[in-house]
Symmetry: D3
Subunit: 243 residues, 6 copies
């Protein structure tokens, strides 16, 4: 495995596409091995279109959602995608499931991690996934957890963009230019056949975040002609040698 790695913790199987598909594709293009963990398929709560079909079952929904997610991951050049299949609405991780996530974190040794916003009154699975990401990051750092394994350092945890950012109290502190990989993100988005109503929504988001990128990189005085961007909120401070 490359020493450039990243880990995405996605509550439901489509979240990583809308919220950080550009970051995945961009870092993949820079040589990162990006691993995605889908804690659930979003089979109960985020598959309305499938459930409206005749004769639908939980297994069929899961299968369809997995296929979509795999296709999207492929479009984004994801290195590895893991489906924990823990169930959604509500998502719950017992101790064993948490340790399973810790195992992935330690195996990947990510330079950075990503998960959901800290707060989400519409979707408690989302904020729960972030709580779990923080908890498992902590366990992965513990020398006494599975002693002998390589412990985790101190990777940043980026919170990716939720739906209705203001209601979630989410505030981006970094914008990433995803113009070079926009086509891949759009292709991944179009794999999400069950949620077609969101294709244009997240295209709008990417364009408008591009505007924010331009505002913050040079404004009217110039700066990068970024056309598509993604925003992230950092949980931890950065450590640098130059501002």
């Amino acid at each position: 495995m490359s020493d450039k790695t990243a880990l995405i913790v996605s509550a439901h199987s489509a979240d990583f596409v809308w919220r950080c598909g550009g970051a995945i594709a961009l870092h993949a293009s820079k040589g990162y091995d990006v691993t995605v963990v889908c804690l659930s398929y979003g089979e109960r709560g985020e598959s309305a279109k499938l459930w409206k079909q005749e004769g639908m079952t939980l297994d069929k929904v899961k299968t369809a959602r997995r296929k979509e997610a795999e296709a999207a991951a492929s479009a984004l050049r994801v290195h590895d995608i893991r489906f924990f299949d823990l169930g959604d609405y509500p998502l719950v991780l017992d101790r064993e499931a948490k340790y399973r996530l810790v195992d992935v974190i330690r195996a990947v040794q990510p330079r950075f991690m990503m998960s959901h916003s800290k707060y989400d009154p519409y979707n408690t699975d989302h904020m729960y996934a972030t709580e779990v990401a923080l908890e498992c990051r902590m366990i992965a750092q513990a020398w006494g957890h599975n002693p002998g394994e390589k412990v985790l350092g101190a990777p940043q945890l980026y919170l990716f963009e939720p739906h209705q950012t203001e209601q979630m109290g989410w505030k981006p502190d970094v914008f990433l230019d995803i113009t070079p990989v926009w086509d891949r993100k759009r292709a991944a988005i179009e794999c999400m056949e069950g949620q077609q109503h969101l294709w244009d929504y997240y295209t709008n988001v990417a364009q408008n975040r591009g505007n924010h990128f331009r505002r913050n990189s040079g404004g009217q005085a110039g700066g990068r002609d970024c056309r598509y961007a993604e925003g992230f909120q950092s949980v931890f401070p950065r450590t640098v040698d130059e501002l």
Copy 2:
């Protein structure tokens, strides 16, 4: 002037030493031209020791404070230090004084700016300086202010560390390793003869921020052996090509 530039807006003449002396010295060592604007000498509010001397006058205090600040600036390799001499406790900038600051901003074209915390119930001059820094940054960006001059881009405004951080609601999101220039910062600190009670205080701060740097760069699993650091809070989001 170098195209690597920075601008510090300091309410009183000693603030830049305690709060970002390391950042100044470090960036100077990397080829930055760092300009410091002291809006006042802190002659009324931050010169208790001088005022306790027999026969002290406002002019004598200002002269002493200016000498200390110049000596400190020299120790830190400041490129240019400007004394606006606007008076303190309270500090007030009329329109003309603001335009004077805008002129400096445009002349310097800083890659980044620095000023005080957003809130400070102990010292309203401090938060006022930051309000002014934001206002003047905005004016410097306006194409219609002194048309024909080169307008400002979108430099970051870093808020440097206030005294009693928690009371000010200040939260650092970046730590800068100042180990290579610590000697210079300590030398600059020792120029502040009137505030000797703060020498060890800010040495403690730098050491403990070094601990925070280590925690956030690798923690118990390793990372840089940073011994002295400074923390800063960013007002604006960053724009990046890689996380």
Copy 3:
């Protein structure tokens, strides 16, 4: 059942009386079917007066609390009151209990829901009830939860007034004029024989909220002569055709 419905999720059996008795009675008078779910009787934590009696047992406390709650519900014209009897101090809902609440939500299809403040350091049952209300609202919206049932739309969740509002970070954004039904609320309050020390307290609250209603509807320039009101904090944005 009427298509005008509301659902109150009350951690303990008396909360709905103090905190939204007026809203219940008012909406009942407007043709709403209001359902109240009491997750516990508050038998351990909110029945001090009963426990001070000789020979008291848990069952006797529950019975007494239930009687009081039923009498109050009757005074308020509650359509349906359900006692989940899940225990208090601490209140805990396992998955089965949550599904039971989801069943009620789906059966009622409320136009709006009500529960406690988001934060309460004095009474962790209260904030837990709100967490559960949000979680169960989400599950009730999931097409894959008990497929075939009518899923929930997007009803508002109002947080009713806690004791010591400022300590709970609760901020009302809507005041409801309950003057027409004040007599019913006072009658319901007087059913709470075990908590007589709160009768006048909540009468004071209602009067002072009436003052707030007047301030916000016209102030010194006129406006409704509201004498009693209740305040609520909305979790979700409203959707309107006219401001």
Copy 4:
């Protein structure tokens, strides 16, 4: 004048178009007389494209900006637009200018007012305009200010959507369906020839706010097919007879 009235306080002459053009057109279509006060033309800070033209002067910029604003106001069916011409970057209102705004408020007797977000580190004129709106609303309520005039009641102050909502700490609590008047808003937007880079930006915003409207009015279970919306944050609580 109709008794259905509204008042918009816009720091610069284009703000009312991007931020609440839909609300204006919609309420105009419902019989409201909507008055817009442009405190400045945004002639220095928001007219970069004009200033890049050869031979531009402050007067020419103001004239061009005024024409654009008048055209947009006409497209939106604004009842009355007032240009206070107070200068921008920075915008400052002395006591006389404030009283002038109070006069307008009292003359209009608005059912609701609108202004900018409470915080805006990019544009201090914006947050200043809101401070002034609150101050003048208070003065307009004072019986001792120009005694004998009709005093103001307690109209809501809605904060319209800023650029980069999350950086401003702006959180909408109400979404307004502007689908019926979207054509008018788009027409007004296209009057802003100097800021063409924002046309699609704010179209994206309107579409995505339409999505938020649908989410909050019925979600996947149905609800209004709103295609364009605007969001607003209320400063004051509402007073109602039914939730």
Copy 5:
């Protein structure tokens, strides 16, 4: 003057009665010399009842307000009340007025100060008074302001209870038992003939704060039988020898 002193900074002449009349009377009874500074009479904004009388003039209103305030001060055993007569709605202090307040602060050398909440969208005079109180406290501490005078130490600034606490973001961290002096506070309240609609309102507040006092001093397990209380929010941390 006693070495037990306190200073109240009241934006309008009645504020000190409603908001800290109990604290004044209680400390007076303990030997404190309490000084009250009324920055204005509230003659324009808080005298609606007077202005509704035939033939009213600004001078008559001021005279009436002053009489009421003096009577209330007397009922509360205020040591000294100063009327700065600076005008209200809006209240503005120029440099000279601020220095006048600094002079009072230095003369009084208060053990603690009191003023309004930090935020008040209904009444910008209130939050402005607190800004000024902090600024003048700072100036009073400056050795270089009127050198030779006794400088101020570091007295607490308590923010007294605003109307509609939740809208102001005011959170009390200390409750004071005013039961022993309640009669005096009620007597002072009844001096405010122009605002009779608030007499019962603030009696309700005092009773309910008494309930909060009991909750926080012993709760159901006992504690002081406090019947009336006032709440305050501290701006600065306390320094103690025992918790």
Copy 6:
């Protein structure tokens, strides 16, 4: 047992030393019986140095950590230290463990309690311990929990100082002068052989908090010559007879 008592709830066995060792020693010297509950030994997550030794086992780590904690407790004159041995990273309390903590709370009847900050993204055990402390405080107050036992009153819960205070959103509202017992705290700190890198860190903290004590007790105008202090954040309001 003395009627002067305090209870510390420490997530891991060393936390009480760094964070409130001074408060413990000081109150012990004033006749308080201070009880410390260590919910875990911190054996997995806070014992890196031990785990780096050859042949280390979980039991050996626990034993070493217990010895260190006992030695530190002895240096601080702790009255009673209890090791719940519940495991760390993650720490979890089931109902039985919570009741065990309730039993201790009721037995001690503390005048005040102490635990961790409300938020800690680095260490979820810490914030969990505080949640549990609040929940168990509530249960201990319930008349129906183990009826017949003496119920708890309303003791303050102080949150002691976390590592990286600003990241935790921790804000001290009280500083305690620990100069008289600093030697004991330093001795206790030196018992923590496994975490030697923190000895000087927390000495720096104590010195700088001493500076904050001086600033807030008299500032440049005088005040106590406190050299070492600790800071705490109160969860609940205080109830007093004099400000």
